[in-house]
Symmetry: C2
Subunit: 471 residues, 2 copies
């Protein structure tokens, strides 16, 4: 307690100096050794001070040169507007929505600011490969056999164990594995909603979920959100009498990257239980938090088995592995049946390999680095956007995840910018894709999952210049 | 030509002697060397004679002991009745159908005569493991990356090349890969049919397809079939005005194992094109033929792009790999969109590994052995059934695939037998699962994908005895 107090106090003092501008962006800070001398504390305490300041994004370490004040100009950029979708149920022909979305997939000549997954350069490839080889050797029939219906036991055990980290108390028997999170969402929606039903989604919303709703013939009501505090609980409450199912991404929802406060999550869970509306919770970004703590989930507050909590390793470890899961609460039997009918099983070897990878404890080490890298990337992106994007550009303040939301001054149509950018071999996600309503024309999503390089900075600068030509 | 004539003539002579009973079941035939002396032909010609006779199932080779006349008593058992479903559209709550189907999954204490896939003992595990390791090493980002949307290029190229073997002319661009054949069927049905539509299926039909139709809210019309000649084209024709989509398994349909003659396939394709009804063709058993030639597919006769031809390696190579494909004809765009929306991608590593395995040419060698083993198994099963099952039992004459259809004398309810057998740790598939109508109560499906052993023979004998107690 004494020591905790000490390092917190020192970190607090330095934080104030940074935030007030006494310490300037890019300025070098004392070495760990010098800090320990200056404050008369141990080396370990001194290290914890910098760890704490890094976690708050106030300080950056550079290999072989020490600690520096993080660039924070971008914090002066205004926030995007809170979304204000109309309280109407929209349905749409999926064909209209999706045409052209995947035409760029597989092109190697593009800079994919539109990519929603971390680049392979950030992933622990060597360790994963080793796990695949081991799984192939250790499975009784080399993985040619079907898994148990509920899915790989090790994977379920580890996902259950990790639920303690977000205030959950899952057991392995509570979980059903799936082929990625998207597959989990498909199964949940098919189990709970039928053609013509109405589903509530955040606005803006990940286009994949809008496509899915459209392809299942579901009507969509969009929920107002705030770029920092996330889901507008009052707005959701107003929609409740009209909806059948709710699908939310409370933690680091793409594109905005907000984290809905725990109290609001709790309120949402209790409201939905009251109305007997099932909540599908997509927590696939939950492990990519930039703060000090893994945020809780709606599932943490679920006492009725009414929350179907979905996750995957597609945003953190290996998109191409197709490994996901769902804790379906009281809907477990329905989920199991649908899984059996629609896919029989997932890929045995790969799920075994990921289960083993989680068992080794390497995942947490790796995640720590991934989070730091992505947070650094975000700061670099935001700084560059502040420098080179049109005057009046607003940006979100992601508290985790992989993406930034940009709001251009009115008049810049991101659909047109998409076409312009593509000619310069840059792929972006236009704002219009994130809604079924008439909004977000001047918005776009940028993924910061690509490694930050000078080349990438130039591309981002180029994108800003293209936007300026449209004013 | 001269040589062909020679070996065919000798084989024909021996065949007549076997069929007429001059040569008896189990009798030893001359060695290759002695046969060559006896007829004054080369050793190679002599070998071809036995190969031909084996292909006709008249002769069996036993390692280190030579060639013997195959047991064929079972050919005297009567055929099951041709199915005569009512021409009504049925729909059903999937829950009613599926309860208990998967409760036995994963149990290791049961003898799974109900298993619809070949046992791991029959699979080329070592070679497959090697391919997985190689794929993990050779893929640019170790397989963590998403595949191209249409799927692994090597896999598509090889499936296209193999289509020459069944009179197809597919190009790699005609194919879309899927996570197993079931996933292909799901995507096809979702693309082509909407809730309330009517689909035509063979009667009896693989339960997984009935479950799928039910879970998508489709009504089902069952098509009459004959245990040897398969789909009753006239019966299908009568249903056409009432159906929206047709899903057929013309080659070695489980449970009956028939092969619909090529002329009938051609007629079916032309009829459906005339009525503009899409045909989903499940050809997942097509490579497991017991005769001399890979049968053609409906797709072989498709000039309108109206046939969606689906396949997988789940019945031949590795059920747990989840590797399948579809050549969707003119519905390719719809299929691609649905694949993108519902699963994004398949598992990169595994699809690459199977693509490479097919490239090496090992698949054909391996399939040759697999077919021989399964055909031998079938004969052993059938012989044992003839010996130990109740008087009046009828059995199908599978021309390929993995399963036999048994018709017990009226009065033996296979649902009751299922319960009895489970107590003796034997799992069977009751006939009632293969229809939505009131039929097949006295029928069951037996898989012969388990390796034939004395132990297995005793289990089958035990099953026969249990059935006898029910008369």
């Amino acid at each position: 307690m004494g020591k905790d107090f000490l390092y917190n106090q020192i970190a607090g003092t330095i934080a104030i100096n940074i935030k007030s501008g006494v310490l300037k962006t890019g300025e070098r800070l004392p070495s760990v050794r010098n800090l320990s001398k200056e404050y008369g504390v141990s080396i370990n305490t001194s290290k914890r001070v910098y760890f704490e300041l890094e976690a708050q994004s106030l300080v950056q370490s550079k290999p072989q040169s020490g600690y520096f004040v993080s660039p924070m100009e971008y914090l002066k950029l205004p926030l995007p507007e809170a979304s204000q979708p109309l309280a109407v149920a929209n349905s749409v022909d999926p064909d209209q929505l999706i045409n052209g979305v995947y035409s760029a997939m597989g092109r190697t000549d593009l800079t994919f600011f539109s990519l929603g997954v971390p680049s392979g350069d950030l992933l622990p490839l060597t360790k994963l490969k080793k796990e695949i080889v081991l799984a192939t050797r250790s499975l009784k029939e080399g993985g040619t056999e079907y898994e148990p219906l509920q899915g790989n036991v090790k994977l379920r055990r580890m996902v259950a164990a990790r639920s303690r980290g977000w205030g959950g108390s899952l057991k392995e028997s509570d979980l059903v594995t799936t082929s990625g999170c998207m597959n989990a969402l498909v199964l949940c929606l098919m189990a709970l909603a039928k053609r013509g039903d109405t589903i509530a989604l955040e606005s803006p919303c990940y286009p994949g979920i809008l496509h899915l709703a459209a392809s299942l013939g579901l009507k969509v009501m969009e929920i107002a959100t705030h770029p920092v505090s996330g889901i507008d609980v009052k707005a959701l409450k107003n929609l409740l009498p009209k909806i059948d199912v709710c699908l939310l991404v409370p933690n680091f929802n793409t594109p905005l990257g907000y984290c809905t406060p725990d109290d609001n999550k709790k309120e949402i869970v209790s409201l939905l239980a009251e109305y007997d509306i099932p909540l599908i919770e997509d927590d696939t970004y939950g492990d990519i938090y930039f703060g000090n703590e893994r945020p809780k989930c709606c599932k943490s507050f679920d006492t009725h088995g009414n929350v179907l909590w979905c996750g995957s390793v597609s945003k953190t470890l290996a998109p191409g592995y197709r490994v996901g899961w769902v804790a379906p609460g009281k809907y477990k039997e329905q989920l199991l049946k649908l899984k059996y009918i629609h896919s029989i099983a997932s890929t045995s070897i790969i799920h075994e390999a990921v289960g083993n990878f989680l068992l080794t404890g390497r995942y947490d080490n790796y995640l720590r680095n991934l989070r730091r890298t992505l947070h650094d990337n975000y700061q670099q992106y935001a700084t560059t956007i502040g420098e080179f994007f049109p005057e009046g550009t607003k940006i979100s303040r992601p508290q985790g995840g992989l993406a930034l939301w940009i709001e251009f001054p009115k008049g810049i149509d991101s659909g047109e910018l998409y076409n312009l950018a593509l000619k310069s071999k840059i792929s972006i996600s236009a704002g219009r894709m994130f809604t079924l309503q008439d909004q977000f024309h001047n918005c776009m999503r940028l993924s910061f999952g690509l490694p930050w390089t000078n080349e990438l900075k130039l591309k981002l600068q180029q994108l800003g210049n293209l936007a300026k030509t449209m004013l």
